[in-house]
Symmetry: C2
Subunit: 305 residues, 2 copies
Amino acid sequence: MRICIVGCGAVGSLFAANLAGLDDVEVWAFDLNRAHVDAINKNGLQLTGAGEAHGRLHATSDAAELPQCDFGIVATKAMHAEAAITMTAHAFRDGAVASVMNGIGNEETIAAQVERVIRGTTFPAGKILEPGVVQWDVKGDTSLGPFEPQPARADEIAALADACTRAGMPTHAVADARPAQWRKVIFNSATNPIGALTGLTHGRVCEDKALRALVSGLVNEGKAVVAEQGIVLDMDPEELIDRSSQPDQAYGHKASMLQDIEARRPTEIDYLNGGIARFGRDLGVPTPLNDAVTALIKGAENSWI
Amino acid sequence: MRICIVGCGAVGSLFAANLAGLDDVEVWAFDLNRAHVDAINKNGLQLTGAGEAHGRLHATSDAAELPQCDFGIVATKAMHAEAAITMTAHAFRDGAVASVMNGIGNEETIAAQVERVIRGTTFPAGKILEPGVVQWDVKGDTSLGPFEPQPARADEIAALADACTRAGMPTHAVADARPAQWRKVIFNSATNPIGALTGLTHGRVCEDKALRALVSGLVNEGKAVVAEQGIVLDMDPEELIDRSSQPDQAYGHKASMLQDIEARRPTEIDYLNGGIARFGRDLGVPTPLNDAVTALIKGAENSWI
């Protein structure tokens, strides 16, 4: 089986390095970060931290080099999805492509270029330490299911999930991937921007009573938007937030949005709180706290200009 | 008439330098910033920007040096009010003391040490450029009225207001100073922390539609808290916000809270949004956006620790 990781940043690298350890999987990685690509081709891809792995794979910044692949796993930042899939779609003429990106709306972007799409949600997190070396901060499960309007086949989804699980990334093939996706969107929207606006790690956000109350306020708006769509969450995001704030979990993790803000990169706010607020507007569900947080993060982005 | 400015930071310096220009007023300034005090004693106090002034006055960091004064004007940060008035109260045994501090609850702090108290609200703003030199960013009016439980006499309030007005700081003696004070608290609470969280100047906050909507959300909560107390605002804070965001007004002004955040100093959030939220809780008026903003700013302060 040949799998191409499209966007080999922190999360893409977790999939790439782990999958490369399987004998029956050939891994390609497409990324525009040439230093990272060169280091991977020269020395392999090293994971350190919550899990260790060293994977040998083919990395490239030139989409024309990609062979035909059975699967794509798109792991770019949400705002780069369209450009990335436009460049790489030719490699998936007979393949199915999964999104493991943050937020909502990404499968629609992939489906504009690729026939069979997998709605994916992944919880592991990390950061690139240096070209070719990625710190694995947080372990976690992945869910893969059909993207309803243009679904991949059930056997395809099962095969990809099985490969990921065998590689050390526990992955569930599910019939409806929306509950897991919304759970993660709500989780991220309720915690990521709070870390970004305050500079606090996930654990410190959660142990501050007033911030934890704000997190719950954001969660409750997200739950109302989900309920209005008739989706039943598979787990309460509150549970996930409390569990992940433990010292042996993501206590010391700097949310990716905080990493973005500190590096003055655009954040994924439009696909997280902005996505919840957009669904809320369409569904007639008020989301004043998500509106506020979206405006504040976008304001912070604009302050660099 | 002898007036002591207690806390000669940006706002205190505007009063001190202007009042020092009057022949019939002797000005003292008490401040713990020794470099600023030394520069004032050596070279006088220089204002530049929206207004120019150069005042000769007595400055000291030693409260024991203060003579008996007819008036005090306390212009410290709200969280330093208690320490400042405790150190200087002996100079106001026969005098009346006004607060021109931000937020609510400051008159109560002064009244614990001084007999006759003036409830004051001032709109001018600026920043210390270097010891002895203050940039006057924003001009504006001041209101002085009785602090209801321990009021100064009407003739005293009128005399202080008259002196400030003659000195170039237009000041109104009013029978009820609460409307002006709440107007300013609402104005500051709706705009200051948004600048602080985003890094944007007042004008850029106001021209961003989503942030301007958040500002209005904060204003509306403040108005509900005011209405519940039976106080009728003298002007809509929205009007003030729009007017002050014009290019010839405070467009380019960095809110004092943004200056505090950038310098990693504690902010006045507890006396602004925190004060509105506290009144809201006591009155049974929900203030979710003020709660959120208070939590975020305090979280940012805690991130430095």
